[in-house]
């Protein structure tokens, strides 16, 4: 079955050959075609070549065109550092205080920063394999982009001391996210939303309700209105906000390894599909293939009977140097378990 056939049959409750499986490959794709991570900067064709090659090499079900979470913030003035052969990181936010928020303008996805190159990568990936695989484009959530625009510590202090300014900034970030979402959809891709800073490892569930949720709901509502099912990923601890994450209209929640899939299934499994959560660092990067297989069987045991379905996945994007053998081991374990799932196969 192709990934698209597999998802379609799974969604209709028809027989499939195995559960969908998504080791979330980002910059590891550079290793597949033997280029340096920094070569992706400003090169949509190369990102597409790498993502397509990685998909063909490993045979997973969802391609996510992604290099880092900063693309939207960068297009609005944040400074991003690009190490030669590692994932980029934020060097400095666009502004350093609330009184500068008025100077920010929502990015134009066709012109600003690296957004046009990412859109090109999405278009090319869809052209190459969109007929058989699900191709998504990474979209950073408004609250998280806001944190990159003004600095995380400044933003979370403002959440308590100047909530109006947080809303002003998130409003601008939302406008930028909506424009980028539209462009991603026009490229033939489904936006896949990550809102890392909404994690309960960072802000309280109450603060998420106030500053994260309303903007996510608008963003996901828009994508949904264009007929695309959205996967929402929030890193770290999320147990206290699963209900709210489902209320955003997301069709699938991608759960980090800091949270428990079996619990998520009980709490929101009748409302959303779940995806997760083999530990990216401890198991996928540092573990043996045997440990990857064991962890993969464990997550299947926890969530394969989720009422709205389950996608075997890593808990977050894979580290660049994740061994290919471990990515293969995850898919092999899912193939071995097969379908329908027998309890003995999960031991």
């Amino acid at each position: 079955m192709t990934p698209i056939e597999r998802f379609a049959a799974y969604g209709r409750g028809q027989p499939i050959d195995r559960l969908p499986c998504v080791p979330i490959v980002g910059n590891t794709a550079a290793r597949v075609i033997g280029v340096k991570v920094s070569e992706f900067r400003g090169n949509g064709r190369l990102i597409a070549d790498a993502q397509v090659a990685a998909y063909r090499r490993f045979g997973y079900d969802v391609i996510r065109v992604f290099t880092d979470l900063y693309t939207q913030a960068e297009a609005m003035g944040a400074r991003v550092h690009y190490p030669e052969d590692e994932t980029a990181y934020l060097e400095a936010p666009a502004i350093d205080s609330a009184d500068r928020i008025g100077t920010l303008r929502p990015a134009d996805p066709r012109k600003d920063g690296n957004l046009p190159h990412h859109l090109e990568a999405m278009e090319r990936t869809v052209q190459a394999v969109g007929h058989e695989a699900v191709v998504t484009g990474a979209l950073t959530g408004p609250f998280t982009t806001a944190s990159f625009l003004i600095g995380t510590e400044t933003l979370v202090r403002m959440a308590l001391k100047n909530p109006a300014a947080v809303h002003q900034l998130c409003g601008i970030a939302l406008e930028a996210s909506l424009a980028y979402a539209e462009a991603i959809l026009d490229a033939g891709c489904t936006p896949s939303v990550t809102d890392a800073m909404c994690s309960s490892t960072v802000i309280s569930p109450k603060q998420f309700q106030e500053f994260g949720f309303p903007y996510l709901k608008k963003l996901i509502g828009y994508i949904d209105s264009r007929g695309r099912a959205v996967t929402l990923h929030i890193c770290g601890k999320t147990r206290a906000i699963w209900e709210a994450m489902a209320d955003t209209g997301a069709a699938c929640l991608s759960i980090d390894n800091d949270a428990n899939l079996a619990e998520a299934k009980t709490k929101v499994g009748d409302r959303v599909r779940l995806m997760g959560n083999v530990p990216p660092s401890e198991v996928m990067l540092q573990g043996t293939t045997a440990e990857v297989r064991q962890a993969t069987r464990r997550v299947i045991a926890q969530a394969h009977d989720n009422p709205k379905g389950f996608v075997v996945a890593s808990g977050c994007s894979l580290p660049v140097e994740t061994p290919f053998a471990n990515i293969d081991a995850m898919l092999d374990a899912v193939r071995e378990v097969g379908w329908p799932i027998q309890k003995e196969a999960l031991a």
């Binding site: 550092h81 190490p83 590692e86 994932t87 990181y89 934020l90 060097e91 995380t152 510590e153 979370v156 202090r157 959440a159 308590l160 001391k161 309960s200 960072v202 802000i203 309280s204 603060q207 770290g236 206290a240 990216p280 660092s281 401890e282 990067l285 540092q286 580290p319 660049v320 140097e321």
Partner: protein, 223 residues
């Protein structure tokens, strides 16, 4: 508030300072700290039983998930506002030598909230913290730890690409024959107990309050 506290006992004043720190009341802490100075209350005790006590209560609320990073940062702002007022008034006799911790985010990473939280909690627990900031090269941890006569080196990262730099610090210490002089602790998103053991660090903690307990325990061993 100041007038009221003038009639209170020192113990009440300490309690009010502690409450104002937990209550995220930076202005209140500053006013109370000034009142303490005016009344000639022992500054060291006011810090210890007031500010530090408040920050440690905030740490407990963080552990029980009543407080999150925003609350903890504002409590810390309040604590530091009080420290600015009270520290110049500490009598020399009442200061004991504080154990030193060199802390930083390893090279290749600029995520420093986790490191900052640990720094705040260590500060509040009586350690002298030498903060090297973020994106710190391995050799600098070694050099600064030697220069400051630190007991503990604390390494933080959120990115897997920088985990090797943590191992590098341990290797540099070993190669320089300095490994036994320092305790090395590691933390951050992708780090685990297993990783800590593999690179030969002395300890790992998944949380900021846990890191302080770990450092206390290890610094005790080193002393």
């Amino acid at each position: 508030m100041t007038n009221q506290t003038l009639s209170d006992s020192p113990a009440d004043l300490y309690q009010s300072l502690s409450d104002a720190v937990v209550g995220m009341d930076e202005d209140g802490v500053r006013a109370l700290a000034n009142a303490a100075v005016e009344r000639g209350v022992d500054a060291y005790t006011a810090i210890d039983r007031g500010l530090v006590d408040g920050m440690s209560r905030a740490g407990v609320l963080f552990e029980t998930e009543e407080y999150f990073i925003p609350e903890l940062l504002i409590c810390a702002d309040a604590m530091y506002a009080g420290l600015d007022v009270l520290r110049p008034h500490i009598k020399r006799a009442s200061t004991r030598a504080r154990q030193r911790v060199v802390i930083g985010v390893v090279e290749g990473d600029t995520h420093d909230i986790g490191k900052n939280l640990v720094k705040i909690m260590l500060d509040a627990s009586g350690f002298e913290v030498i903060d090297l900031g973020r994106d710190v090269p391995p050799q600098r941890f070694v050099d600064e730890a030697v220069a400051h006569g630190a007991e503990v080196i604390a390494l933080s990262t959120l990115m897997t690409t920088t985990m090797d730099a943590m191992a590098e610090v341990v290797t540099l210490l070993r190669d320089a024959g300095l490994r036994d002089r320092f305790r090395v602790v590691v933390g951050g998103g992708p780090i685990s107990q297993k990783f800590s053991e593999r690179i030969g660090a002395d300890g790992y903690s998944p949380s900021a309050p846990g890191a302080v307990k770990l450092v206390k325990q290890l610094a005790g061993e080193a002393a």
